[in-house]
Amino acid sequence: MPPQSSSTSSSEAEAAETVDAPARTARPAWRSLARTAAWCAVVLVLFEVLTAVLFTRTRLANGSLRKFLWYGVSYEQKVRELVHTPNLPPRSILHAGWIDPAAYRNQPSEPELTIYGMSFSNNTGEALKELRPDMSVRMIGGPGAPLSHAYGAYLVDRPLRRTRFAMVGVTSGAVQEVLLMNRGSLFADAPFPYFFPRFELVDGKIVKVADSLINTSDELRAAIDDPVLWGKQLDVLAAHDDGYRRFYFASDWLDYSLLGRLVRRGLSKHHAQAYTTRILGPNGFRRDHQAVQLFRALLRQMVSDLRTENVQPIVFLYALQGQSNHLFDLVNDILRDDKIPYVNSFDLCRPDNLANYVPDMHFIPECDTAFAKRVLALMNEPERRP
């Protein structure tokens, strides 16, 4: 240890601090404080005005900083902006994820494999198509969709197709979302406009307790500017979406203030983290939580329903980057007891290997190919051949 350290001991450092004090006491403290506060207010107002002008009337309107400062806009306002964006491409997020039989009819009606899930399972599906171009694949899903969306979509899709296999994709990050009806209730930064039904576990059985009043992008277009229709939809969310909080979701004056948006975003992030932490702890999913119990029951029910209609189920578990094998731990007993064929991304592309992921947190194409090969291998196992 340095013997010379006494020269800057903490007590001496404090003394240095008090040396500055008399210089300030010469000025009247209250007046100085009031002036500082007033200048602070002036600068804050300047920020408000500058951001309003720069990010709406200049080239900065499309920049990343504008995007960042707009994250705190309410979910409703974001969706409204999206709906009113001119010339939206057909693959826009506005049209993705809706549980809409009309959209499902555009897919092959007698596929070899139907995939229910989200972008991860879609990527696996695309890799499957590349490996086996002759194989017909039907893909039903939504961006980041949880299992309740997959089950809701399956119930609608079931009469529309005949399939031999069905793959159910679930991610480790979406277990907590089975109590929601819209992803925006927890993840308000990016608008995911689609809604999905809410299920509950009643006496050991899955029961649909609420359906969204808005089920297509066209219905959303009609409702978003209609206060009565939109109000009814918000009432449904308030009653049945466990993560929904009006302050983060519905539009209000804070949308027009820089500071207001920052406050809303900060609070909504803390809300999402607190919500998630209640379900997923450092040692895995908390089995006593309603969401976890519903998730397990939904998986069991979906597999059972598929088997009832003579469809061979395959469960695909996707571990998100940096996560442990908690998802497998959560459903391992179900997979074993119900003899469900499954693929666990953890076994093929470990989530603690950064090289397995692209910057948007999806898997690299090599991983998707490996997943697709494993799915094909499961489909080709002798006991699953027709």
Binding site: E14, A23, A29, R35, D352, N353, A355
Partner: protein
Amino acid sequence: MLFNSLEFIVFLTVVYGLYLVLPHRAQNLMLLAASYVFYGWWDWRFLGLIFFTTSLDYWVSLKVAATQNERAKKAYLSISIVCNLGLLAAFKYFNFFVQSFVDMATKVGVQVDWVPLHIILPVGISFFTFQSVSYSIDVYRGHLQPPRRFVDFALFVAFFPQLVAGPIQRATTLMPQVVEPRKVELDQVTRGAFLILFGLFKKTVIADGLATGVNTVYNAATGVTGIDVVVATYLFVIQMYCDFSGYTDIARGVSKLMGFDLSKNFMTPFYAASPSEYWTRWHISLSSWVKDYVYMPLALRYLRKGDSKLNEYRPHVYAMVLMGLWHGAAWTYVLWGLYHGFMLVIWDAAKLPKALKRFRKRIPRPFWIGLYFHITAISLLLFRASSVGQIGHLFRTIGRGLSPQNLTMPTPPTATMLGLPVLLFLDFLAFRNSSDLFYRKWPDAARGALVAVLLVLVLMGWSNAPAEFIYFQF
């Protein structure tokens, strides 16, 4: 209860409201109750532990002060030291030492069956234990008298702003502030408020913003590149500084609101040009504690043994290893301590040859600052690694190449990217002025603008994923 949480805002508002209307004695009683609530928020079961050590040390100090018998004094002091350090060892080091023994036995062919005990580490145990031990030693040395009221002493140990992550306060500094009535002055309040704002900026905007990228690299088993490790390590240097000094700033700020003055823990540490200077700028309260209660007694002891270089240097290394172990029970911390100990020795040894001395004087200070910054960065790589094996892996990864195109770690959030230049600028001003009160010389308009900028940045950074303060685990 994190300082940057809504619960703490509510807690502080209630406590401060009561504080302003209560008389001195009632203030202390209320602050003690509040401190126990604050601590019990994590795990109420450990309130018993803190109450036990407090009662024991108070009893010991009364006994030490009452007796003139030197042997009896020593015996009482021993009770305090053994109990405090024994509890610390039981909670923090038991598994580590037994596991290390088992590993060693296995290596020499002796099979020992032992399952590590599931021991929960009480938050901040190292901080309040060291604070309590130093009190007992100071009373033994006659540097201070024990307070008349138990409540005052209990508040000294448990004072909530600094209870879980310091700065470690000496009884000679804090106790008089507890015992004597305090004044809440506007000047103190405004300085406190600014410290809180600046601390929140460091924590939420910088530290929490950098945490995601750093954790991604350090938690990844494979797939990271050499440039990832280097960038993550530099960012960890900044993260660590902002996390810990941010906590200290908030702790000092909250204390100032109530008229307390806690000692500083950081003084622009990355402008240190040598190891000895570094330890007068980084975690000052711990380094001065170790200097006074470990290094000095050791140095005296070795000097008595003989005037050799080995005897002069050994206390440096021993003190730094102890400082490493203070952080946690892991070989990475031992390595970190050894590394810093050897740096002190090397720097000292390099002073001796006259040619080297001249050479050192000719090279400008910024070079030494830059050099020592990199030395610090390497030490923090040792500190952040989860195992000695990972340290080797990280160095091998760096050795495989540093091509910038291979950078894969996530970019820090926008708020953090905007906040970093502000932090570096303010830190530079603090260094240039040798004081973090440089802004007080500014005109009102400039100060108002600074507060507004920090306020906007804190609101922007509020959406960064909140993480516990790193030093809570110690």
